[in-house]
Symmetry: C2
Subunit: 214 residues, 2 copies
DNA sequence: AACATTTGACAACACAGCATGTCACTTTAC
DNA sequence: GTAAAGTGACATGCTGTGTTGTCAAATGTT
């Protein structure tokens, strides 16, 4: 009897699900910009709702709490970045170096153009909770897979012959991420080409080095 | 007239400064273990004081706030790590590989032995505040210098000939840090030798690769 | 012994944040 | 037109935290 919400009405020409999804998206957008602007710890649910033009009730309609929003925003942005990079790979001419350069360019270009995304991905995600740390780990692994597929596309098989590839690919991802962090922390003062070339150098050096000892 | 604390007395056989320094150290220790155990955001000043066996008043005697304590703890631990590594370098035989391996071993061994240190250094420091992010940046730069001096000791001059060495060294530091993060997040399940060898591989590959193109 | 300082346990206060609730006002459905 | 659902602005309860204050017991000084 007390079960009320059986049929959500249409409202302003949109169904209940549509409105809900739209609000959720507004919150995701607002979350990105508030988290990325003032940082996760300083961001309050209220300020996020204000930025989204919604009230707090709708926040808890879509997300259990602030941390859940951060998780979704993070996933959305990492997915977006991967998409951007895959798109860049697809458009690049199938020359080894141009291929890799296109992916790196897409990555760093996005970070430079969207400081909020950079801050969120590079700084705000770690140390919030075990759950978020785990999300970070998974995202890094996915980027490692991306790089690995890139490497095999480049025909650089040397790494694949080594034991503990996973660790090495994780290291390469970490190198790029750290270069990006440094870049952001120094106000993007280095030219993007220097950033890209240096990252590329690490990749190529690692891939081309036929390990003798170790 | 109201200036009371002109001469601190001796108490339990220690001078005022000694007692103050001792309390400060207790708080630093407690901060490390509480931050490293339950994470910075979840750590309260009260719980840190309880762990230190002190009351809150003494907290604010030594530190302006929780963030200031984190900064000091972080600095103390990075200094400690650098010391450990320098010590390992000093003891290692002057063979290129053994040299590098000794430093990496010291680094990873410390992290494995002291999960609190690992969590603090690898996860808790980022995204807290701009000040702390800056501290992270500086610490990473110092580790980069350490690696650079290691590289020149090894007589690997290839990197030094390249432009934007800073970026490349930052990348290498990032690679090691990321490998450590991944190791920690997977419960240190990889054997430490695999971790060290993979890190070393990245170093040696980078150093030995005579860049042709790029 | 008598008094001042140091300490520790704890109370008190202000404040901010999360999460939920209230209520008048719009928009839709019938 | 009327009733019900949706919405938005705001209020409320609650919890935790930072920070300061109180006071008796312990320790040192004279």
């Amino acid at each position: 009897m007390t079960e009320t919400n059986l049929k959500p009405r249409r409202y302003r020409g949109a169904s209940g699900d549509q409105r809900r999804a739209e609000r959720c998206q507004q919150l995701l957008d607002a979350g990105l910009y508030v988290f990325g602007d003032i940082g996760y710890p300083a961001s309050s649910v209220r300020s996020i709702c204000a930025a989204a033009g919604l009230t707090e009730r709708y926040f808890y309609e879509s997300f259990a709490n602030k941390e859940a929003l951060l998780a979704k925003v993070y996933q959305a942005q990492t997915d977006y970045l991967k998409e951007i990079m895959l798109c860049a790979f697809a458009k690049a001419e199938r020359n080894s170096e141009a291929f890799a350069r296109a992916g790196l360019h897409a990555f760093f270009d996005t970070l430079q153009d969207k400081p909020a995304v950079a801050r969120l991905l590079l700084f705000e995600i770690l140390g919030v909770s075990d759950t978020l740390d785990q999300l970070y780990y998974e995202a890094m692994e996915e980027f490692a897979v991306l790089i690995r597929s890139l490497a095999s596309s480049l025909g650089l098989a040397d790494i694949s012959a080594r034991p503990n590839q996973d660790i090495i690919y994780a290291g390469l991802v970490g190198a790029v991420i750290q270069i990006a962090r440094r870049w952001a922390l120094t106000g993007y003062s280095d030219p993007i080409d220097a950033i890209i070339n240096s990252s590329l150098f690490l990749f190529v050096a690692t891939a081309n080095y036929a390990a003798p000892t170790v």
